[in-house]
Amino acid sequence: MKDNRELQSIYVSWKRVMIRLSRSKGRLFGTMFQPVLFLITFGLGFRKVGGNLEFVLPGILAMNAIMSSAMAGISVIWDREFGFLKEILIAPVSRASAVIGRSLGAITTALIQGIWIGFLGILFGAKINYLGIIPAFVFLSLISALSVGIGLAFSSKLSDFESFQIIHNLIIMPLIFLSSAFIDVSTAPKWLVFITKVNPFSYGINGLRYSLTGTGTVNVFFDFGVISLFVILATIISIRLFEKIEV
């Protein structure tokens, strides 16, 4: 019985994310058109300076997953502001189930967006390895899970509305741009390469890029190991912090 309730909690937390996504016209619209913008600027716009679509497409996929999942994590701040968090906090289920459900919702969202972006990418002329789509999904999920964990951890500690911008601008954006998403390790200066190497997202992105294009990494299993480790770590930390929330 108890297990059943925890599963129900995970399911309904996931479902809530999905319902909210389907009802938010603004977010749906943004989800549809933002990737187009990214593909045009990063993919086509930078083509003259050496960028190519196959390199940029995984970067865009990752960037989108990181941003949208971080947002899902940070949404705890919204729930706190609008009171719904109390309903979650006094429920007789573990808070871990609420965290896991929310993460799965974020991952599902990132995957749906990923499919759309991939489709657009192909439409724009990117050549991808179709056999790598399944591992690409795995890496995209891991990237998304890490990002939602970071968002959750921060928003469990920071309670005010303004912190959202701080988390987004000071944590999430640097993590995206100082990763291998848009930095080509083969041509970048050494110090920058070093930074991308300590950024866990880079391993997810390397794996993703390798799955889709067969380039950009030494060992895809190593990438998988590193990003998985960080996902586990971030999930544990975010659950711990979420358990400590008092309102």
């Binding site: 309730r5 909690s9 809530r16 719904f84 109390k86 309903e87 006094i90």
Partner: protein, 320 residues
């Protein structure tokens, strides 16, 4: 042996991180099936107490036990036994009424065979069954409060906590909410713990009241007990005679050509009136019965609200 209380609180204290002592050692018991009210001004410690009892906050000191389970040690078990309506809404406004309740039902482990039936049942109880598919953001304040009431009872809790259930609602809606609360109490034989700073409402619905101010319980009892213990009814008489003190009269004062008589015992107020009517030639007589507002004023020396409510005046007759 008397039945064990459903809520048992002993010497409960809460000190916030910033040093504020919000609750300074309170003790009380709530019996099964009782409506127990915490009455006090904003910042008295009402919400803090509710948050501790509903496991949202940990107490700094003291014990709180809900139907035999310690709130601090076994918060998980307590959560299943309680229903809560918070002071500020705790609904997801992007979900429909039904979806909000479904979310709750699943978290509280209501089996799928009973889930839909129970949702329908509670929606009907608060009169929202016709608009269950509407988004909550389209609801009025009163409707949201009713939905929260419905959600609070869904899992058949042993006790319902209502933190200022009528705060911010207009008078009509407030009355309606109380109607629903009384109905819930009757239909589900619910024990209810509520906080409010509306004196008249507390007096009307609560079976027992604790007056709380600055983190301490000042007095506890039935509304009538509280009034009788600390306030005296006043009879105002217009007469040419000079009224003398008697055994039932505490004191006599003259004011604006009228005589104010303070009775010793509120229960004997009618006796004093007939006494006066017999003895003196009375032109006009009225009584003002004390209310909880007076009790609060007497206990704390201040009014509970900034906007002072009108004193209730009960006119019983005019004699010429």
């Amino acid at each position: 042996m008397t039945e064990a209380p459903i809520v048992f609180v002993k010497n409960l204290k809460k000190k916030y991180k910033d040093g504020t002592m919000a609750v300074k050692g309170i003790s009380f018991k709530i019996k099964k099936g009782e409506i127990f009210g915490f009455l006090g001004p904003n910042g008295a410690g009402k919400t803090t107490t509710i948050k501790i009892l509903t496991t949202l906050l940990k107490p700094t000191e003291g014990k709180a036990i809900i139907s035999g389970v310690d709130v601090e040690e076994q918060s998980h078990k307590v959560r299943q036994k309680i229903g809560v309506v918070f002071q500020t809404p705790a609904l997801d406004s992007k979900l429909t009424a039904w979806e909000n309740l479904d979310f709750h039902a699943r978290l509280y482990g209501i089996p799928s065979t009973r889930r839909d039936k129970r949702i329908k049942q509670v929606l009907k109880l608060v009169g929202l069954n016709k608009i269950s598919k509407k988004l909550v953001e389209k609801f009025s304040g009163g409707m949201k409060r009713r939905l929260e009431l419905a959600r609070g009872l869904m899992h058949n809790p042993e006790i319902l906590f209502l933190d200022e259930p009528t705060l911010g609602l207009d008078v009509q809606t407030r009355n309606k909410i109380w109607e629903y609360i009384m109905k819930i109490k009757k239909d589900e034989n619910m024990t209810i713990f509520l906080t409010t700073h509306y004196m008249e409402e507390a007096e009307k619905v609560c079976e027992r009241i604790a007056i709380i101010d600055e983190g301490k319980i000042l007095k506890m009892g039935t509304p009538q007990e509280l009034i009788d213990a600390s306030c005296h009814g006043i009879i105002t008489v217009k007469t040419k005679n000079k009224i003398k003190k008697s055994s039932n009269i505490l004191n006599v004062k003259k004011m604006n050509g009228k005589t104010l008589i303070k009775v010793k015992d509120n229960k004997k107020i009618t006796k004093v009136i007939s006494e006066i009517m017999k003895k003196y030639e009375v032109e006009e007589i009225s009584i003002s019965k004390p209310s909880l507002e007076d009790v609060f004023l007497n206990l704390t020396g201040k009014s509970i609200r900034d906007d002072k409510p009108q004193k209730r005046k009960l006119r019983i007759g005019r004699f010429r």
